[in-house]
């Protein structure tokens, strides 16, 4: 089985970077047994959330450390770039989705005034506990709330927040269009949607090195630090499966989010996506 997967992976890498679009309704209806991508595997639609949850449960306590190592510290700059665009101010309420360890929320609160609030929503209790414990350590409790929830069915009222962020999380959602529709629903008119995500197609000159790094170095690094290679294998595969910038922009538009702007960071390894509920 592992050997088979190895071949599968190499073949699909080519298809994925050059071939037809992987996401979207046409493909879903074509699929006879309603399956979705889980890295390079196809799994039953119902199974993905549980599998993703397992991945993050296994790495929760060392997640941010791994981010530092994997991105060579660059994830900090990417997150700051997102906050630059968000421009935290006044009595803003931010809903940060898939932000369990609190990394975005803490940065937001550090920049925003004393009246700003952050609500962190993550599907994984293990990740939320890491963030909540950190907030307790930093004694920032009254401006931040934690909850466990699904990006596809947010437990948040219509038109209730000024900003919605999701950093390196949308890739793990089973039904991305549904999550984007939910983002629009909870945003107030004039509210800002911001998303950081790895791009499946970095600039051409970078791709050889990037492939080597992601398929050879990263899983080993993950194994070294967390004792588990498999979660990081998933991470890398899921990146290659993610829609291109163009396709994702179209998905944002389809969800009713407007004025889409994108900024490719680190040669397209990561893209910052911005859109508004008008």
């Amino acid at each position: 089985m592992p050997d088979q997967r190895q071949q599968f992976r190499v073949r699909h890498l080519r298809m994925d970077t050059r071939g037809p679009l992987r996401y979207g309704p046409p493909r879903m209806t074509e699929s006879p047994t309603d399956e979705v991508d889980f890295g390079f595997r196809r799994v039953p639609r119902d199974a993905k959330a549980g599998l993703v949850r397992e991945v993050f449960e296994r790495v929760a306590d060392r997640y941010d450390l791994m981010n530092d190592l994997m991105s060579l510290g660059l994830h900090r700059r990417w997150k700051e770039a997102m906050l630059d665009w968000l421009n935290p101010r006044g009595a803003m309420t931010l809903l940060d989705v898939a932000g369990g360890t609190g990394d975005i929320a803490f940065r937001f609160l550090a920049r925003a005034g004393a009246t700003a609030r952050a609500v962190v929503c993550d599907i994984n209790p293990a990740m939320v506990e890491v963030g909540r414990d950190r907030a307790i350590d930093r004694s920032i409790l009254d401006r931040i709330d934690w909850l466990v929830g699904n990006a596809e069915a947010l437990p948040v009222a219509d038109r209730s927040v000024e900003a919605y962020t999701i950093a390196f999380g949308i890739r793990n959602v089973t039904d991305i269009p549904k999550a984007l529709a939910e983002a629009r629903r909870v945003l107030k008119p004039g509210g800002h949607f911001l998303c950081l995500e790895f791009g499946p197609r970095p600039d051409v000159g970078l791709s050889g090195l990037y492939d080597l790094y992601s398929f050879q170095v990263l899983p080993k690094l993950g194994e070294l630090v967390t004792g588990k290679a498999e979660p990081y294998q998933y991470l890398i595969e899921s990146i290659r499966r993610f829609p291109s910038d163009e396709r994702f922009a179209a998905m944002l538009g389809a969800a009713g989010l407007q004025r889409v702007r994108q900024r490719r960071l680190a040669g397209g390894v990561v893209t910052l996506h911005s859109a508004w509920r008008i």
Binding site: T93, R117, V119, C121, I123, P125, V128, E129, R132, I136, L141, D142, D145, W146, L147, V148, G149, N150, A153, L154, P155, V156, A157, D158, S160, V161
Partner: protein, 75 residues
């Protein structure tokens, strides 16, 4: 029944400001906070979402149906 909750730390109670924007993910109705059972109750949906360690677990699959017996307080 409420005894176990009596000396719970402040961070374990649900922030009233959070309750203002928190809704049932199924029906989008507002929720009532059952402090004793540490649950958030959605009447129309007939669901009670557990609060574990002060964190509301707002997942349909983790919620208790209101027709099912309540868990003993303090768990």
């Amino acid at each position: 029944m409420g005894m176990a909750m009596a000396d719970q730390p402040a961070w374990q109670s649900v922030d009233p400001k959070l309750l203002e924007i928190l809704v049932c993910p199924v029906t989008h109705e507002t929720l009532s906070y059952d402090r004793e059972r540490q649950e958030l109750v959605a009447v129309k949906a007939r669901l009670a979402y557990p609060i574990r360690d002060g964190i509301p677990i707002m997942l349909r699959e983790e919620a208790r149906h209101l027709d099912e017996p309540a868990p003993p307080a303090g768990t």
